[in-house]
């Protein structure tokens, strides 16, 4: 008996019909939801704008959604649709959105993420759109953080200084002077205080340096460090001068020389250091101002903590990358989008947003609000530091992300762990770094 594998004449109609029906059912179910972007359509003259927010904390989410609802109630002709984004994925998501022509109209992001989109023509130039009130309310130093090639591509509205969160009881016991925004520690005093606070296995300070570059660069501004120097022809050069070296050398010596800093926290994120901080394993942790919320939520009852200003060098300055609101270049209703931003960032609203995120507003009016000058949770300390916050020197440099990932992050990690010395670090940051930047400046 032969094994005939030749297919018998198939019942084509039956199978095809079955397949067609199977395919058609889900497709039919999906049709109502498969529309593309409808934001440009207007109905009876009504405009709908999409606002992508990155708010993620409960109070902040609530404030964002409430403000959108208030706007929509007051402006029936310009409706804003709230779209939820996320910080960890915002760059990839925006990149593909711009490529696909599906970007939101109003975009929440941070100044250190804007450079590629600003230079790439994806974000609208807001310079001529900004209402005078908003322009006046936000100081020039904040506008500089969102200015690329002389054009403003975002409205900076929330920011945070890096501060020292400290165990007050330990500081009192050690007898060290408590620094204030008016009379902060110098880097030398900070190093001495950390040594006095070190007892046995308990360290004076724990540096969470999972991402060491931004922390190092931003704090180095206090000693006059810039590292990125722009020439008159627009090209940028990396240097690692004596003023750039003060902060990295202090951290290195704390970890490797006097052992006043914990080695184990070098690879940690800020949140990871908190359990050890609560347990008394370290007396101080340099963190963003907004970490106070986690401390309030997670600290054991009765844990006595305080916020201290970061040490100063020649000044108390430090670099920041504020959160911003931008408008997509493709948005056909830029004036309407700016009107929403203006509403969203009115002083009382800016206060609500700042309180929701435990951050500082950039607006002068908002910073005067009593809630942000309260002693509770050391809001006053942070607010007093607002005038010291400057544009992070690297954020407008093309090629900075590659320099950071390929050169600076591994270099600083190795230096802080003691694997390489300062000269080797300098060779890498400058030599390898300028090679990277050169590719972006041809």
């Amino acid at each position: 008996m032969g094994h005939d594998h030749t297919p018998a004449p198939p019942a084509r109609f039956t199978r095809r019909g079955l397949l067609a029906a199977t395919a058609a059912l889900p497709a039919a179910a999906l049709l109502p939801g498969c529309s593309g972007d409808r934001r440009r359509r207007t109905s009876g003259g009504r405009i709908t704008l999409r606002f992508q927010s990155l708010a993620w904390q409960q109070d902040s989410l609530k404030a964002n959604k409430q403000l959108v609802a208030e706007w929509n109630r007051q402006h029936p002709e310009i409706q804003v649709q709230y779209v939820q984004g996320a910080w960890p994925t915002v760059h990839d998501q925006l990149l593909t959105s711009f490529e696909g022509g599906e970007a939101p109209d109003i975009i929440h992001d941070a100044t250190d993420d804007l450079a590629d989109f600003a230079y790439g023509g994806d974000l609208a130039d807001l310079t001529a759109l900004l209402p005078p009130r908003l322009r006046r309310d936000i100081p020039q130093r904040s506008w500089q953080t969102a200015t690329f090639d002389g054009r403003i591509h975002g409205v900076p509205f929330l920011q945070e200084p890096r501060v020292l969160i400290a165990n007050r009881a330990k500081l009192h016991r050690s007898g060290v002077r408590l620094p204030t925004p008016e009379d902060p520690w110098t880097w030398e005093e900070f190093a001495q205080a950390a040594q006095r606070l070190t007892r046995g296995t308990d360290h004076g300070v724990a540096w969470p340096l999972k991402e060491p570059v931004s922390a190092t660069l931003n704090l180095a501004l206090s000693t006059g460090g810039r590292m990125f120097h722009r020439h008159p022809d627009g090209t940028v050069e990396v240097r690692f001068d004596a003023v750039d070296q003060v902060v990295p050398r202090t951290i290195h010596d704390q970890v490797n020389v006097d052992r006043s800093a914990s080695r184990t926290t070098l690879g940690m994120g800020g949140s990871d250091t908190l359990p050890g901080f609560f347990a008394g394993r370290c007396a101080m942790v340099p963190l963003g101002f907004s970490y106070r919320q986690q401390i309030v939520q997670q600290a054991p009852k009765g844990f006595d903590w305080t916020v201290l200003p970061a040490p100063k060098g020649s000044a108390l300055d430090q670099g920041v990358s504020p959160q911003t609101l931008s408008i997509a270049e493709d948005c056909p209703h830029k004036e309407a989008a700016m009107a929403f931003i203006d509403f969203f960032l009115r002083p009382p609203n800016m206060v609500r947003l700042a309180l929701g995120d435990w951050l500082l507003p950039t607006g002068r009016e908002a910073l005067r609000h009593p809630a942000l000058r309260a002693a509770r949770y050391d809001w006053a300390t942070g607010t007093a530091l607002a005038s010291t916050l400057r544009s992070a020197p690297a954020q407008s440099v093309r090629g900075y992300p590659e320099w950071k990932d390929k050169v600076a992050t591994p270099g600083l990690q190795e230096y802080y762990s003691g694997a390489i010395d300062l000269n080797t670090l300098k060779k890498r940051l400058v030599g390898d770094g300028n090679l990277v930047l050169a590719r972006y400046q041809r």
Binding site: D4, A11, A29, Q57, Q58, V83, E102, S271, Q298
Partner: protein, 308 residues
């Protein structure tokens, strides 16, 4: 006599009884002990591996029920000291989890269905008709599994953009079908090969046509494999994150894995309790389905691997 016999005969067997069991015991004791030790070692290693695999899930389970103060403890406990449902309440209050779950369910179910509808006849042809073309096709299916996601995402995005299928559920489902089809095909081919052709031949001898044979003989035998493959495709799509992130823009269309990232802040800070609660809920369907089909999946992968 009898005594001597008994003693004589008795001695020998006694001696044999004495020596005979001893020798094998001497020979067999060491291997037996070795076998026991090996087996114990294997079970210990297996247990350690299971603990290693289960650790993230058990930690997630524990975290989901912990209040914030326990999350910040230097000495965390496996069992929450003051278990709470507050994390679940917050998770549902902060993000549209039911809508996102519905989107995930739709994308996963429809893509799994389409993948099965396409893969089943293809697998049958690849398994039954051994031609050069089918061998090349099988090889291509296996090779396609090696392509990393980043290699395909940009071309795929551009193709979908050209078809106006960005920010479209249909676009996402198409991608999921394409993504799960090779593995589904490979799995189903194994199942088809495990069905003896003699059964189809017998049906043909009895006068059944090709379609009747397929429907009445082959399909019932393939059913468990089809179910296992469908569930596998479903779980793959249910858990998928990157395509959904890149392709879907409207908030109403976002899937569960994308919505879970909304609990994350800057610099790796997370709203840990609600995130763990939401992630736990998102994991449950996968766990339940895997618990149901894991034996079938293993069977499907091995089916046809050995010639009977």
């Amino acid at each position: 006599m009898s005594g001597s016999e008994s003693s004589g005969t008795g001695n020998a067997p006694t001696a044999r009884r004495h020596t005979a069991p001893t020798r094998p015991r001497r020979r067999g004791a060491a291997p037996y002990a070795r076998r026991t030790a090996t087996r114990a070692g294997q079970y210990t290693a297996l247990l350690a591996y299971l603990v290693f695999l289960a650790f993230p899930f058990l930690w997630l389970l524990s975290t989901a029920f912990k209040p914030p103060r326990e999350l910040g403890s230097l000495h965390p406990t496996w069992i929450p000291e003051a278990p709470t449902l507050e994390n679940f309440r917050q998770a549902f209050a902060q993000q549209p989890l039911p809508a996102a779950a519905a989107n995930s369910l739709l994308a996963a179910a429809v893509s799994a269905l389409i993948a099965i509808v396409l893969a089943t006849p293809m697998a049958y042809v690849l398994a039954r008709y051994r031609t050069r073309l089918s061998r090349a096709a099988t090889g291509w299916v296996v090779i396609s599994q090696a392509f990393p996601l980043v290699l395909v995402i940009i071309p795929l995005f551009l193709i979908l953009k050209g078809l106006h299928l960005v920010d479209s559920r249909i676009g996402l489902i198409l991608v999921y079908v394409v993504w799960s089809l090779p593995f589904a095909l490979w799995m189903l081919t194994g199942y088809v090969r495990a069905v003896p052709p003699e059964l189809e031949e017998a049906a043909a001898v009895d006068g059944a046509g090709r379609l009747r044979t397929l429907v009445s003989v082959t399909a019932p035998l393939l059913a468990p494999g089809i179910v296992a493959t469908a569930l596998f495709a479903f779980i793959t799509a249910w858990n998928e994150f990157f395509f959904a992130l890149v392709l879907l823009k409207s908030p109403g269309k976002q899937t569960l894995p994308v919505v879970l990232t909304h609990f994350l802040g800057t610099e790796g800070v997370a709203d840990l309790g609600p995130l763990a609660a939401a992630a736990l809920l998102a994991t449950l369907p996968s766990l339940l389905l895997f618990a149901v089909i894991q034996r079938r999946i293993t069977g499907g992968m091995l089916a046809g691997a050995v010639k009977n």
